[in-house]
Amino acid sequence: MVSPYVIYFLVFVAYPLTFSFILIFHRWNIVTPMEFIGLKNFIRLFRDETFFKSIINTLIFLSIHIPLQIAVALFFAQLLNKKIKLRGLFRSIYFLPVVVSGVVVTVLWQQMYAYETGLINQILLKFGFKKIPWLVSPKFAMPSIAIMATWKNVGLYIVLFLAGLQNIPRELYEVAEIDGASSFQKFLKITLPMLNPTIVLVVVLSTIGGFSLFIEPYIMTGGGPMDSTLSAMLYIYNQAFYFNHMGYAATLGFFFATIIFLVVILQRKFIERDVY
């Protein structure tokens, strides 16, 4: 009964993995025969400044996106955890961007970020602030994409945190209150440590998601301005499907996947040790 899985595994997991080990030692444009070039792809990789820039861009994205996501999700989860009316309705509204395609969100936000006509700058002007060059300035472009990604995904993390909050026994808070703890102390000493498994989960999930950042810069900026939003995934895509550098792109993918794997493992070790 497991034979369908065995076939699937051989064809779509084992074969691609094996083939990627072959590809990384070859130059290949998919049309002419493969040419063995030894370690040249790796040498090229280590000299490829654009690739390292794209990895740093991805890390910049993560370093804004993850803390922002956790802060916003915790904030709304705390509100929803109080005795309030219409909790279900609020939750459903916050969750709406999660189910909608990333393409919709990107097309919509591209317009909202427009310098002259965009919604956000118009609202900023109304409140007496200056316009911000969201997608036009290399400094703001990646943070803009990180804010948009947070808006899109945070609903899911609100739900996860809410479930985490509801699992914290009430008695813990009651005991703390008897001892005269302030709300801030309760948050710091009870809520945060008790939510640790959820926080680990949120960090790991949004890291994996963030490393595959692709369609947002692909549609919004094409990686610009000045490669400031060129994510690693977008760079690999361009190498493979725009320039047809299959061998080199496979090498990049191999290298990048190794980084992802290590980061996720390190993260889990680090966060779990840090809190306990």
């Binding site: 497991v2 997991v13 074969y15 691609p16 309030i84 999930l205 595959s212 895509y237």
Partner: protein, 270 residues
């Protein structure tokens, strides 16, 4: 009391932040180009002109059915094969069972970035570029779904399975007549998750589909917005995005609770 008011104030602000952009988008598609930047939703000159432009320029209805066919095929396959393998892993003893289980865990840990390009090469070699098969085959099984089914099936009483076996049912009959009817939560979770992710997938279609007639809906909208066919007209771009959002929003408004619960189980992944 003051705290309560503040709570509602923040909750409402949140609701505006998450919902207003969508409302604005829908109304913007009905306005003339020049009025689109207005914050106010309504206009004197509303029309469906932008939608007729989209419908005339790109085969978006066709793309809707492409997406529907591909997503339904993937979902059906993931449920059928996932439950079969999940059943075998939870209830049967066979040679290599632990090995299979390890392979499934291993597969889940591999970042897709490493297999993306070799899988594309495989699809090229098989001649599946520009076919539905190219979209469906690589997604036909999911390790995560197998584990969800396995976990759920472990909690079904063995006595039910024994009595079905005494009645002469074989394994597949036991699975589909006894176990699946008892496993509706697992089926709907896997179903919604798989359907959502394949419906919204856009990187893979961009790679294997070049023929406009075979494009999935998110892919077609992406190509339309980027490729200059929208001629930089905001109203038209937003209209194509609205059409893309519509099916999911309709489904979501009917089955909110199931969507939220299913997506929240991505938590089980770790």
């Amino acid at each position: 009391m003051k705290g309560k008011l503040l709570t509602y104030f923040f909750l409402l602000t949140g609701a505006v932040i998450f919902a207003y952009p969508f409302l604005w988008m829908v109304f913007a598609t009905l306005k003339p180009e020049i009025e689109i930047p207005n914050l106010w939703l309504l206009s004197q000159n509303m029309s469906f002109k932008n939608y007729s432009i989209v419908l005339n320029k790109i085969p978006i209805i066709r793309a809707f059915f492409n997406s529907l066919f591909v997503s339904l095929s993937i979902t059906a396959s993931v449920i059928i094969f996932g439950s079969i393998v999940g059943f075998a892993l939870s209830r049967l003893n066979f040679y290599g069972k632990n090995l299979i289980f390890m392979l499934i865990l291993f597969t889940m840990m591999i970042p897709f970035q490493i297999t993306l390009i070799p899988t594309y090469v495989l699809i090229v070699k098989l001649g599946f570029v520009d076919t539905y098969a190219g979209l469906i085959l690589p997604a036909m099984m999911s390790s995560f779904s197998i584990l969800v089914f396995r976990q759920f099936f472990l909690n079904i009483p063995q006595s039910l399975i024994e009595s079905a076996r005494i009645d002469g049912c074989n394994n597949l009959q036991i699975l589909f007549k006894v176990i699946i009817p008892l496993s509706k939560p697992a089926v709907s979770t896997v179903g919604i998750l798989t359907f959502m992710s394949s419906w919204n997938e856009v990187l893979w279609p961009l790679i294997v589909i070049r023929n406009e007639k075979l494009m999935t809906m998110p892919q077609l909208v992406t190509v339309f917005v980027l490729g200059g066919q929208a001629e930089g007209q905001l109203g038209v771009q937003l209209a194509s995005a609205t059409l893309l959002a519509l099916p999911v929003v309709i489904a979501y408004s009917f089955f909110q609770r199931y969507f939220i619960e299913s997506l929240a189980t991505t938590g089980l992944k770790e």
